[in-house]
């Protein structure tokens, strides 16, 4: 069984000192959690109102697993996300208007509306625009880490994926390669117990997905993914190790998505008990209580943040609602570099 890092927030009387994080960091983590949650719930609502097309993958309930590792990374560090990493997109600092535009598939989206919602990417902040193929960014992200290793840069890659994606062959090939060369990458598995309708118990014959790391010769650790402090600190240690050339870490964050796989999934394969249990473990609520206990969050302060976050989100949504879709001919753009003009068929 993999080592379990003990939560520093579990101590009876938490203080900033025994937690080992600054007030700024804790407030930063909290604010990003809150912003992610608020935006995510807004997207769900907007989708149900038919404000955007396609589908929507909510990450509500598991935001700590993406906000925690991403917070504090450097601008040059790379985020290699899958489909449920709105928290990483927000925390790495993709402007909200780009995030909303991506979901709305408007012309002002970084991808100009080409891929479907939740594929947030923004080169300026080092966030890879994802493909849908699960573990795709684990492989490509490992390649980014290989690039840093080749150039002896001390940038780090954070690769995110669900426990389901760990069954993919390409995932194995990537982690195996990273293990051989001690690449600067941290693998973050969000084990939310389900891959669409398939329970984690039918995804692998192991209990802890962190055990997969034993096949590659680097550490794997299973932690409570709803404890933002623990997630942040575990990831920060792994990032420091990676940056120092000591190789990858696989961090399995046990967590849960509150809603369906996507907004069109009734998720009736789960029991209400299971859902209720995990709702009680709400990472945002937990962070909120911790910060209150520490005396760095008051009702007034929270209200101010809520107002500010909502204003920012409203502004972003307003801006995108006003935007148009790209012209149809945009379909012919960005096939090749300018060197190779694309032949257009006229029908």
């Amino acid at each position: 069984m993999p080592a379990k890092t003990k939560s520093k927030t579990a101590v009876s009387k938490p203080t900033l000192k025994n937690i080992g994080l600054s007030e700024e960091t804790l407030m930063g983590l909290y604010t990003n959690l809150l912003k992610t949650r608020t935006l995510d719930e807004r997207f769900r609502k907007l989708f149900r109102q038919g404000r955007f097309a396609g589908t929507y993958f909510s990450a509500v309930g598991q935001e700590a697993t993406t906000v925690g590792p991403t917070y504090g990374t450097r601008e040059e560090d790379i985020i290699a996300p899958s489909h449920r990493e709105i928290g990483a997109a927000v925390t790495k600092g993709i402007p909200l208007v780009h995030i909303v535009a991506q979901v709305y598939a408007r012309i002002n989206s970084p991808d100009k509306g080409k891929t479907h919602p939740c594929h947030y990417g923004w080169r300026a902040k080092g966030v890879i625009s994802p493909s849908s193929t699960l573990a795709g960014q684990t492989i490509v992200g490992t390649g980014c880490a290989m690039g840093f290793w080749i150039q002896k840069k001390d940038n780090v890659v954070l690769a995110f994926f669900g426990e389901g994606a760990t069954s993919r062959g390409g995932w194995h090939e990537a982690l195996n390669f990273a293990g051989i060369h001690k690449l600067p990458i941290v693998y973050i598995c969000q084990n939310n117990l389900w891959a669409e309708s398939v329970p984690a118990t039918m995804q692998a014959g192991i209990k802890h997905f962190a055990d997969r790391a034993k096949a590659y010769g680097f550490p794997g650790v299973t932690i409570d993914g709803n404890d933002i402090v623990l997630v942040h600190q575990t990831a920060a240690e792994a990032i420091a190790r990676a940056r120092a050339g000591e190789g990858p870490t696989l961090i399995e964050c046990k967590t849960y998505r509150w809603y369906g796989h996507s907004e069109i999934d009734p998720a009736d394969y789960r029991t209400q008990d299971e859902i209720d249990e995990w709702r009680r473990k709400d990472p945002l609520d937990r962070a909120d209580r911790l910060l209150q206990d520490l005396g760095i969050l008051t009702t007034e302060k929270r209200e101010a943040i809520v107002v500010e976050v909502n204003q920012e989100i409203d502004a972003a949504i307003d801006a995108c609602e006003k935007e148009k879709y790209a012209e149809p001919e945009e379909a012919y753009i960005d096939v090749y570099s300018e060197q190779f003009p694309v032949r257009r068929d006229e029908y």
């Binding site: 479907h116 493909s131 849908s132 945009e330 257009r344």
Partner: protein
């Protein structure tokens, strides 16, 4: 009598074949507890149990390659790849094992199995939920490739696929799942592999198509009829081995042909059909063999105006047919 949807036809085919032959089993992601993301396997886990309806992990390589192994020891796997976009990881097993098993073993070992692949655009799926990729399998002798457009054909061809001794890639166009309905016979039936269907007889021009495009072509044909152009519409149904006879007979009669394909033009199935017609019916043609296809861009974009622009439709087909008629 309640009309049967395309997807219900698929479910029926599987249920009936599983009933008929205990060697038939299903494997795929979310097909058991969930009944499939499009509900194609709804109810089958309860009926046949977890060893005949297997919920697979996210392992497209294994879903294809493991099925080959099961087929080799006498089973009749029906594997599901959730979206054609995710069949790329299975390519190795499909091309190197499934398609070549009979050939490379001197027919000692064979791979009688079916891979069902949900495919196609016009559903707002974007780059990664709209692909078909049928041309890769079309260029691999040893495989059978099917892409039906009606519930009747879907059911009958899927049964033929399951009963047959060859490896089959069975494409199901998701746009048709709930849109197309028809009355199906109560009794057991199959549709023969390798035979195209003539959907409308006509004398001026032959339109060849399959899948969603068979319906878009039909819409064009109806409109063109009003404009006084009589089209013979052929639905290929079987992509490989394709029905040269039916298509050639029709072209010999009409002397004009328009080929309609949803996937990108370059290197698509209709390139072969077009080249073969040009090669073998040179003296019959009164106008150039002409294609209407998806755009030559990396995949179907998501935003609705771009998706619409990518796809062939009745207007585009109609315009091209008129151009060919005017030649």
């Amino acid at each position: 009598m309640k009309k049967t949807t395309f997807i219900e036809a698929i479910t029926q085919a599987m249920a009936e074949e599983m009933e008929r032959d205990e060697h038939v089993f299903l494997i795929g992601q979310d097909i058991g507890l969930y009944g499939g993301v499009f509900k194609a396997t709804k109810g089958l886990l309860d009926k046949f149990g977890p060893r005949r309806v297997i919920d697979a992990p996210i392992s497209e390589v294994y879903i294809a390659g493991g099925s080959v192994g099961a087929a080799m020891v006498g089973l009749r796997p029906v594997a599901e790849i959730q979206f054609a976009d995710f069949i790329t990881p299975s390519m190795d097993q499909i091309i190197q094992q499934m398609a070549k098993m009979r050939y490379r073993t001197g027919a000692q070992w064979t791979s009688p199995m079916t891979i069902r692949v949900c495919c196609g655009g016009d559903v707002g799926g974007g780059l990664y939920h709209s692909q078909i990729n049928e041309q890769w399998f079309f260029s691999q002798p040893g495989l059978i490739v099917l892409l039906p457009s009606t519930p009747y054909d879907a059911k009958g061809l899927l049964k033929s696929a399951i009963r047959g001794d060859d490896p089959v890639i069975f494409f199901e166009h998701k746009r048709l799942y709930r849109w197309i309905k028809e009355d199906l016979p109560e009794e057991d039936f199959t549709v023969p592999i390798g035979r195209a269907a003539i959907r409308t007889e006509g004398k001026d021009v032959t339109i060849v198509s399959y899948g969603l495009m068979a319906h878009r072509s039909r819409e064009a044909v109806d409109q063109l009829e009003k404009d006084g152009i009589s089209c013979e519409l052929i639905d290929m149904r079987t992509i490989l081995p394709w029905d040269r006879e039916t298509i050639f007979e029709s072209v010999k009669k009409t002397s004009r042909v328009v080929l309609v394909q949803e996937s990108s033009k370059t290197g698509g199935v209709m390139a072969e059909v077009g080249a073969a017609i040009a090669e073998e019916l040179f003296d019959y043609l009164d106008a150039p063999v002409t294609r209407v296809c998806g755009l030559d861009v990396p995949a179907i974009p998501f935003a609705p105006p771009m998706e619409h622009y990518f796809l062939p439709n009745a207007e585009k087909i109609g315009r091209v047919v008129k151009k060919v008629m005017a030649y």
